[in-house]
């Protein structure tokens, strides 16, 4: 088993130490870049996703959720794909990453809820990079993205 830093393949999470399979069959993504259990990542990419050129290699903490901007200008705002926002705990770099099929939805929800408590500095950093943190108002949208139905339907 190789470390996350050296690999596009299976790795052991640097945060929760679980073994993670990078097989497309499980994750549904080509670049498995975070742990499906704790959702932490590792700062490996520098210019584009998958280039593995970063020498920082710090752990990246999931700090919130955002929606991937759609290229379709006629599409309603905030429709698209739910994305995780990671922040490097070493160099404070932000990156947004696709949620994989095997990511723990309960953990995603708790990250969403914790993101309301993010510091003003973190929020400003996201804004400066054009990343829109999902707020409490988008609760329904997050549930729909994760479970296919809204929170009200889920409660019934």
């Amino acid at each position: 088993m190789r470390s996350m830093a050296a690999s596009f393949g299976d790795f052991r999470c640097g945060h929760c130490h679980n073994l993670v399979s990078a097989a497309h069959t499980f994750s549904g993504v080509n670049n498995r870049n975070h742990c499906p259990y704790c959702l932490w990542s590792c700062h490996l990419d520098l210019f584009v996703a998958g280039d593995r050129l970063s020498a920082c290699k710090g752990q990246m903490k999931p700090i919130g959720l955002t929606m991937k901007k759609s290229r379709n200008k006629y599409q309603l705002e905030k429709r698209g794909e739910l994305m995780l926002i990671h922040e490097c705990i070493e160099c404070r770099t932000l990156s947004i990453n696709r949620i994989a099929a095997d990511d723990d939805p309960e953990n995603i929800l708790s990250i969403f809820q914790d993101s309301f408590l993010n510091s003003r500095q973190t929020q400003q950093q996201c804004e400066s990079q054009g990343i829109v943190l999902l707020s409490e108002d988008e609760n329904e949208l997050v549930y729909k993205q994760l479970y296919g139905v809204g929170i009200r339907t889920l409660a019934v």
């Binding site: 830093a5 050296a6 640097g14 593995r52 050129l53 970063s54 020498a55 920082c56 290699k57 160099c91």
Partner: protein, 328 residues
């Protein structure tokens, strides 16, 4: 047959299977190998001054071929421009790579010996430069303590590679000299000639990058065979040059043309010494929190990683370092 008693010394200029062309005093001899060169005679070490200096053991040598182009050899002249190589004189330098003999373990293949300058040749496009391969050549040259000169050919196709200068910046940062040339237009050829003057240089590179065309441009009289870039298997190009040969340059010096090498393994380089072979990293070795034990991967307080983040080392070169480190 007129066999001279005296052994002569010459330089191996060319080799084909079982035959070696040796130049000596303006003569060219076709030589074969003495069977002794294939063997290693082990003498007792207990008392080297003993008169009873008997061979204790005979071992096979651990090379694919004991003779390399550029070797200074002692040979026995047997007349009719033929001879037998009896001894390889100590090499001042050598450029090696691992070679696998089917069914056997990995042996050292000395590509050239006694060279002064390694010239990795890359085309600006067709075939697309593989910078990872360049890093391998450079590491190998550093390991042999040979200076390297990066040559970029086919500059008339520069429009096909917009990122060339950005890619080469990493090597400028590392302190490697770079020369851009074009065999068709003659761009940069005279500057390259000045660099080659009086040196024993070796051209290395992938198939189809234009090593032989460059050689013909440097010295038109050579008239070596050149091809269009092959569309061969898997788009990897077709070999034009199929053997190693050394040429004497009319303006002074010698140059060795090599067949295209798609792969270039590193020979006898330990993981711990790899960072020393990247000149831009060498100064930081030992400055890490874990000193010389640092692998420069994920260790906290790594000076090399800090230098990469600070922009003093190219991230591409660092990635190459990590890739090579993973192999060793």
């Amino acid at each position: 047959m007129n066999i001279n008693d005296k052994d002569d010394i010459g330089i191996v200029f060319r080799k084909t299977i079982g035959h070696y062309t040796v130049h000596t005093n303006g003569r060219e001899l076709d030589c074969v190998l003495s069977s002794l060169i294939h063997k290693q005679l082990i003498y007792p070490t207990a008392d080297p001054t003993s008169l009873r200096h008997r061979v204790q053991e005979v071992r096979e040598i651990e090379h694919v071929d004991p003779i390399a182009i550029g070797d200074h050899v002692r040979f026995m002249d047997v007349g009719q421009n033929r001879g037998m190589i009896t001894e390889v004189l100590p090499r001042l330098s050598k450029l090696s790579r691992p070679a696998t003999v089917p069914g056997q373990r990995i042996f050292e293949q000395v590509i050239v010996s006694n060279a002064d300058l390694v010239i990795p040749v890359f085309a600006v496009a067709d075939p697309t430069p593989k910078w990872g391969l360049l890093d391998r050549y450079l590491v190998s040259a550093e390991s042999s303590q040979l200076p390297a000169l990066i040559v970029i050919t086919k500059m008339d196709m520069a429009w096909k590679n917009k990122s060339l200068d950005a890619d080469l910046e990493a090597y400028r940062l590392a302190g490697y000299p770079i020369q851009k040339v074009c065999a068709n237009t003659g761009e940069g050829v005279s500057e390259l000639k000045q660099t080659l003057q009086g040196k024993n240089s070796v051209l290395v590179g992938k198939s189809g990058v234009g090593k032989t065309s460059l050689l013909n441009a440097i010295q038109p009289g050579l008239g070596l065979r050149v091809n269009e870039v092959g569309k061969g298997e898997q788009g990897k190009g077709r070999h034009t040059t199929t053997h190693l040969e050394m040429f004497e340059l009319e303006f002074g010096g010698m140059i060795i043309d090599t067949p295209g090498m798609r792969e270039f393994g590193l020979w006898e380089i330990a993981g711990e010494e790899l960072a020393y072979l990247f000149p831009e990293m060498a100064n930081y070795v030992g400055q890490c929190k874990f000193g010389l034990s640092c692998r420069h991967d994920r260790e906290p307080g790594c000076a090399i990683r800090k230098a990469v983040v600070a922009g003093k080392i190219s991230p591409h070169r660092y990635k190459s370092y990590m890739n090579l480190r993973g192999e060793l």
